[in-house]
Symmetry: C2
Subunit: 409 residues, 2 copies
């Protein structure tokens, strides 16, 4: 299916407004927006997926509790402090929800909090007490509102991430919008991955959650900057139902179309996140085809984009295909590497570097041209089955080390 | 038990001679020793452990075949080319064994080959045809022989790695010596981990293999530079039996003493390897205590030394304990983090940074002093059991990226 890209990010679907403000979460940031607010006109079906880290941010505990009924109406997000491993973190997150409920005249239990920033630092309510009413007053159901929110959730991101697409559902035009921040699933303290999706499609809470859990394993869970699973990773979706399509309450054709649209926007966002990985100069996408099964396809593509050695080679524009083969080889699972073929591809061309797990003659000059582009595609054909998968990562650079060596100072 | 460190490396035990020469494996290295030869006076009980990568160097296939009888008399190692994914690699490795057999007048099947360097490059026999007789002529049963061999196997290592210790076994003084190269289990193409142990203890092939497989999981498998499991990782031990102790043929007290000695030298070598990780400016040792079980203790300590984010923080001398807790938290397995306490330690002092999974007040100045040392110890007390483990790693630095971005050029 083709999707139409539209402007407006999370405010593109009907029934959503957003805002971003500076409220002073971190003492040393005097102007940067650090608080985002997303509000729906109606109570929305809502679902979330969260980090699998045993250390888990306080807001996630509150999100889980507030989503037991499957509905929500607002999301409040701060950057600068993760509200993780801090005393009374849950109480503070609840207090934020109360403030949002009061400002928007909605139930505090319909508010979902989210935080990103340093772990283990005490957090106080004062900035929120100032910032939440200010954000509520600034809510806008337009592109600027989405952009302000996308800006407010950024930490080390070099650019804001927002996207929206339209598609047909039951004869109605539906829209899904997204904003995101962070550079992996994947990086604690600073590069926590946060993503917030809005849609005007009518989907029941149960099917919304099912759709999210169907899409995430092949998209967000296939994205990596440094293998470090953050304590705060969160993806939340709210569905207003205002597009007027027949509500999706079972796994029918509309459900499949919704999942396909969600996959399309998630793949776009994953490339955005990975390509803006900390210090990254290249987006690396690995596409595995003809794998014996889906699990292997996903694991192999992840191995390639996660290999520090291959990531450093891409930074050096070195077509060191042996490192790709090596990463495939140490992927857990019982599969053969004998028929593995590898191509390096970008808009500058494509080079066939490895045939049946051995060197395939290619021009190093040609390969260097391919690797000079920002977006690099590694194509791996395993030659043994029908499964395929993608994974997204980035190169390993001096700046990754610099950013993460200097972070707290 | 206390062990006495002795000089002489792999030539310290009775019955071993070694040599290193330049034979020109790589065209652009005109002087560096690139061929090592280790010879025993007698046929030795021998055992090996190898990479788990599905892509596996040709020499490893030959080693497995030559060790089916549990005996060997010589080891030949080249640096500069991994003899992996190259056509006729096994035939070439066998041909090297023939050359060694001829030069030393021993059975080619008692020769164990090993290679480290770039993957997928064709390799020719000519340098070996020149180098092996030269190395055989230069064999020396002294410290210089060991040092020359340790030098010949180096690739990106900044210094040679050799060590030997003495201990008592059945009333006899026994010696174990070791040389090693590489920076992990862990890095394909260049930083393949190779280790060669010699001992004059009398141990049957079966018990030697059992001892090796007992020691490696808690030592070499707990060492990481970048998580990239090389295609060529190899650890081989040869036991000459010339110390005159009663041969160890069962798991008795002598066996336990031998395992303990092997563990001691392996721990020393692991710290040597990790501390000389590519681009490293710090050795990071993580010691986990009071874990619920051994598997968890090992996995948690590995997670800490493998976290790119924590490794970058150590490079920046930043006591970012949240990243340690985060790495513990994403370790697979079913365990609680609630009682986790963490200390950062070095010869400059010790700071208590995390108590029961939350911030413990400490002086950042004090922590910076601790982290200014080369050798950093992270102590993790899980507070829930009796198991303990160690892992060894290094910091992530600009030079790691530089070395691995520029390697083939």
């Amino acid at each position: 299916m083709q999707y139409k890209e539209v402007a407006g990010g999370i405010c593109a679907p009907k029934g959503f407004a957003a805002a971003g403000v500076h409220c002073g979460i971190r003492a040393n940031h005097s102007e940067k927006y650090d608080l985002a607010l997303i509000k729906a006109d109606v109570r929305c079906a809502a679902a979330g997926v969260y980090t699998t880290n045993k250390v888990c941010g306080a807001p996630i505990k509150v999100d889980r509790a507030h989503l037991t009924d499957g509905y929500a109406q607002a999301i409040v997000v701060n950057s600068g402090n993760a509200n993780t491993c801090a005393a009374n973190g849950v109480a503070l997150a609840e207090e934020c929800c109360e403030l949002v409920g009061k400002a928007l005249n909605i139930d505090a239990k319909d508010v979902l909090p989210s935080s990103t920033g340093v772990i283990g630092q005490p957090m106080v309510i004062d900035p929120f007490a100032r910032g939440i009413p200010a954000a509520a007053a600034k809510l806008a159901a337009d592109a600027q509102g989405s952009t302000d929110a996308a800006t407010a959730i950024m930490t080390t991101d070099t650019h804001k991430k927002e996207y929206a697409i339209q598609f047909e559902l039951g004869g109605k035009t539906c829209t899904v919008g997204a904003i995101g921040k962070g550079s992996g699933m994947i990086a604690p303290n600073m590069a926590t991955m946060l993503a917030f999706y809005t849609t005007d499609a009518a989907v029941s809470p149960a099917l919304l959650e099912k759709a999210l859990k169907t899409v995430v394993p092949g998209t967000y869970n296939q994205m990596s900057v440094d293998l470090d699973t953050s304590t705060n990773d969160t993806l939340i979706i709210m569905a207003s139902g205002l597009a007027g399509n027949p509500e999706i309450t079972e796994e029918n054709a509309d459900y499949d179309a919704f999942v396909a649209a969600l996959t399309a926007i998630a793949e776009h966002m994953c490339a955005e996140h990975a390509g803006d990985g900390e210090g990254a100069t290249h987006l690396i996408t690995c596409e595995v085809t003809h794998a014996p099964d889906l699990k292997t396809a996903r694991a192999v593509s992840r191995s390639v984009v996660c290999s520090n050695l291959f990531k450093a080679a891409v930074f050096g524009r070195d077509a060191n295909w042996g490192r790709i083969l090596c990463a495939i080889g140490y992927t857990p699972g019982d599969f053969s590497i004998d028929k593995v073929c590898v191509w390096l591809s970008s808009k500058a061309g494509e080079v066939y570097v490895c045939e049946n797990a051995a060197y395939h003659p290619y021009s190093e000059d040609e390969a260097a041209k391919v690797l000079a582009e920002h977006d690099i595609l590694v194509k791996v054909d395993m030659g043994t089955g029908d499964a395929s998968a993608k994974a997204w990562g980035c190169d390993l650079t001096y700046d990754y080390v610099k950013i993460n060596g200097d972070y707290r100072t």
